[in-house]
Subunit: 329 residues, 2 copies
């Protein structure tokens, strides 16, 4: 076995002393699917709990091409200059098959990757039934215990993962471009309504006028949206990593946001709700993944799915065949 | 046992001969949780499949007070005059505890309830882990086999059920009021972006001007939304059941919608995807509900949830205790 296991205390002391090598190993431990690793992970997590929860957790999403990596690198460096310690985590559903986009992003955040006040962690390579996002919750805890007081959770705005990320963070930031045309095509429905802020990116050169017009349009549109539980009215800001504009405004907006939700109690209530959500989600996902593997249902599921697709069986028909016939074999 | 079980053939013949008494009994059979009922339900569903799938399936949502029942009664009677046969089904998460809103709605749709071309079915009284919406899928099939070519699935726009209903229907219609203020508070985030049409209701008397302004605002806002997979640009219409205005426009809009999605292939592709979704959802929900009851995990779940809520354990901590400790007992 290549990996050398540390003791619980070595993990705990290493994380608390802000040793990023041990932090990385602790994250790998949390992400492991092995029962013995999970028992060890439990010991580590329980010991670290008092040191967690103090960070700003910010989700950052947007379709490919919107400039997420550049924004995170540029804005990330700015807030580090303001004295923050930043951890950047990724939840990437596509990593399951490609393993590609992660490395790409890390090399595109070169100056952050070599900054002592930043920690970049790609998304877990292997997803178990939505488990990746659940584990990200605990990775956030580990980073907080290791002294990071700002967490960015990056996601690609085209899949299921944004709904998961909304449950991981305090503030959900959506990156957009100034045109309202083609670049919107890929983004998933419902994401815009979940955003606490819309940042119009690449507002420089010929785009400045378009950016200002887009800002006015979004502000109008956002007024029609239902008020969120946080009672925070989503803000629209402009950004350029070329001209270095928008950094102060966004940082100020984020600070106002956290002040607002701490004052009205949403910060605490939301985090408790999120924890309860992930607890049940993790139990459900793990039970299902055990059941599917234990009962070798995989082939039957594929067969029945085909029957549903070609219209020979209704969904309930097919489900009943699995539930009341196949599982009795 | 009070309920007399019919044979599969009695159910099948009864539904196909458009006997609404048998249709009601067949729905009760489908909704049953008993294994023997599900095997019988399977036989009935398989036989009826060739007669299903031909209807317009329309989801109707909006917060309490927006006038859903009145809209459904008034617009429903209008489309029946145009020669349609209408089934109105409800997916009501609140019915689990209250049992109240269903009866209320039925009595508020008095003229539909007594119309031979309409069939009104309240939501199932007992929900099993989201199972109500899954069964509604099959209830739609039964209604179609019984000759109903238009299905309204009504839901309260404040809960989780809209995401489920979106997976049940071809067209998702959102009822709103003309003000952009307080009446929006209750609606769940993300629903507006899922809508294929927004109908501004109660546009009569002093509200006409407000309604027209609201329409212009919504049309502007909808342009900023990402294009849906159906490539249908959501429409905004005004309605009044007092002045009988908007009926022709909405009916024409719905017909254009179905023409559009049949032409571009979305109608068929979407229904296949929905069926696959419900197949897996039903398997998952039933497996979980069996697991929870078989292993008497309920008490442990409540105990661990409390530990998560008061911050003694992280979500993964608590889940691991259930998954790797409690379940081994």
């Amino acid at each position: 076995m290549a990996r050398k296991l540390l003791s619980a205390n070595e993990y705990i002391d290493g994380v608390l002393s802000e040793d990023r090598f041990i932090l990385g190993k602790a994250i790998t431990l949390i992400e492991s699917e092995k029962a013995e690793d999970q028992l060890l992970a439990n010991e580590v997590l329980e010991a670290l709990i008092p040191k967690t929860g103090k960070s700003m957790r910010i989700g950052i999403t947007g379709v490919p091409g919107v400039g997420k990596s550049t924004f995170i690198e540029s804005f990330g460096n700015y807030i580090i200059e303001q004295g923050r310690k930043l951890a950047v985590l990724a939840v990437d559903p596509s990593s399951q098959s490609s393993h590609g986009s992660i490395l790409g992003d890390k090399t595109r955040m070169e100056s952050l990757a070599t900054n002592d006040s930043a920690f970049i962690r790609p998304s877990p390579a292997k997803n178990v039934l939505g488990g990746a996002a659940a584990k990200t919750k605990e990775v956030i805890h580990l980073c907080e215990a290791a002294g990071f007081n700002t967490i960015f959770v990056e996601t690609v705005g085209v899949g299921q993962s944004e709904i998961a990320v909304k449950q991981l963070v305090d503030h959900f930031l959506l990156l957009m471009l100034s045109g309202a045309g083609d670049e919107l095509q890929g983004i998933k429905k419902g994401i815009m309504e979940m955003a606490d802020s819309i940042i119009i990116n690449k507002v420089d050169g010929d785009n400045v006028k378009h950016g200002q017009m887009a800002k006015a349009r979004y502000i109008n549109a956002l007024q029609l949206f239902p008020a969120p539980e946080s009672n925070w009215i989503p803000k629209v800001e402009l950004y350029s990593s070329v001209d270095n504009t928008g950094r102060e405004e966004i940082w100020e907006m984020l600070n106002s946001f956290f002040e607002h939700i701490k004052d009205n109690g949403f910060f605490k209530a939301n985090r408790i709700n999120q924890n309860v959500h992930w607890f049940h989600q993790t139990v459900r996902d793990t039970l299902l993944s055990r059941f599917y593997s234990n009962n070798d249902l995989h082939k039957d599921l594929i067969k029945m799915e085909a029957e549903v697709k070609n219209g020979n069986l209704t969904p309930l028909n097919a489900a009943n065949k699995i539930l009341y016939e196949t599982t009795k074999k």
